[in-house]
Symmetry: D2
Subunit: 134 residues, 4 copies
């Protein structure tokens, strides 16, 4: 794996599969979100703590391409690569890759911002660990 | 509402809200999917029945723009407008609008196809009610 | 339906079904919770508002008997009958019945309490609409 | 940990927390189910494979006592201890314990059976690895 790219290993849980026997589409957003939050924690930004401060990290847009379906028993890893989108927006380029063959199951671009206590977009200093290198 | 546009009224359930007190991002995909399945049922395509036949309707790509957050107590409607994307792909233009002010909470484009029993894309005759007017 | 008993009509959503093609066990807890919150709202107790006041309604124990499985396309109603369990505990006797045959899918007893801002059980006056007749 | 007792380590994911900032009640059933399926896999019973054979492992009853609430950032382990309940029923005594203090968050008894292809309870030979020592 690219050394500049955060990756989190996970495994399919049976309750995440739907009547087609594959992981339900919406569940991949949970995988992507969980990996983003773990990435943020790894650079010193705790989602729950920042929420308690009145700063709400919110998703503005997601684009997800579904390539192959994950099924019961599959392991996979989720990557997170942060990007600067605009002065008030940041993004995360993410992939979900099945193990052990590393085939890409999902590729996604998630764009977000932070809302301050008044509900206005503002990239406060708490987000510096994320934004400083972008 | 546009008379050519299917709309389903729903309401936020408290367990769908996360620690920010707003509906979790992934839950909107559930809303969108449920409305698509109800739309398909309204034109004679039953998702569970078609799955039992070995035809798997799958999502290939989603694009979701999040405009305003829904919260506990909110009602909303979800619209579904089918589109032909390519010979082997169809799409659904969807919106989620809060009630009673009809402000758009989410706008989405969901692209899909059908996989036959061999896992290959094929728009079989069971999908005619969806495809014939597109 | 018993006139003293709150009932909420709902329908299975396809994403709630798992690879067995039936509603996943945990989802029934969501149905039960949603009906309880709607019941509470009907008597003037808004879960989100009361949470914002620092009063946390929490579940202490659930007992759920599963009788028949709900599947895609099923409609059902969820009943809620409040009960006094002890000075600091209240309960809800609940059923989930399939429509139109009214066969019982689930029977449950959910015991709860309220935690005040210090995390201690206390049935504050905000709960009077629930407790006064028990 | 007891050497006769299966235990699976997991961690809270932020999307599992609700507006109270704690893991939603129904999510614990997901934790319990996932640990049971991993336990079954560890003794040679694959839930998806057995489902594909037309054998449906179903839950008949759950009793869950909630002791402390898990929150964002918590790690925990889930234990699974199988029990014989009756000729046609088996059970799983389960706990969820927070780490690192090992405080019990949840204690549960989950009773189940297997339904054969005709929908009748039958503990077929595929379940021998589970039942032989009970």
């Amino acid at each position: 794996m690219n050394q500049n790219c955060f990756a989190l290993e996970m495994a399919v849980r049976d309750y995440e599969c739907d009547m087609q026997g594959i992981v339900n589409n919406a569940v991949y957003q949970h995988y992507l979100e969980h990996a983003r939050h773990e990435f943020l924690k790894s650079i010193g930004i705790d989602f729950a703590a920042i929420t308690a401060l009145g700063i709400n990290l919110v998703v503005l847009r997601v684009e997800i391409d579904y390539r192959i379906s994950l099924i019961s028993g599959d392991s996979f890893y989720v990557t997170v690569e942060p990007q600067r989108i605009s002065p008030l927006r940041f993004g995360f380029l993410q992939t979900i890759c099945r193990l052990p063959d590393r085939k890409q199951a999902v590729k996604a671009l998630v764009t977000g911002t932070a809302l301050n206590a008044k509900g206005r977009p503002q990239l406060t200093k708490e987000l510096d660990p994320l934004l400083k290198d972008l």
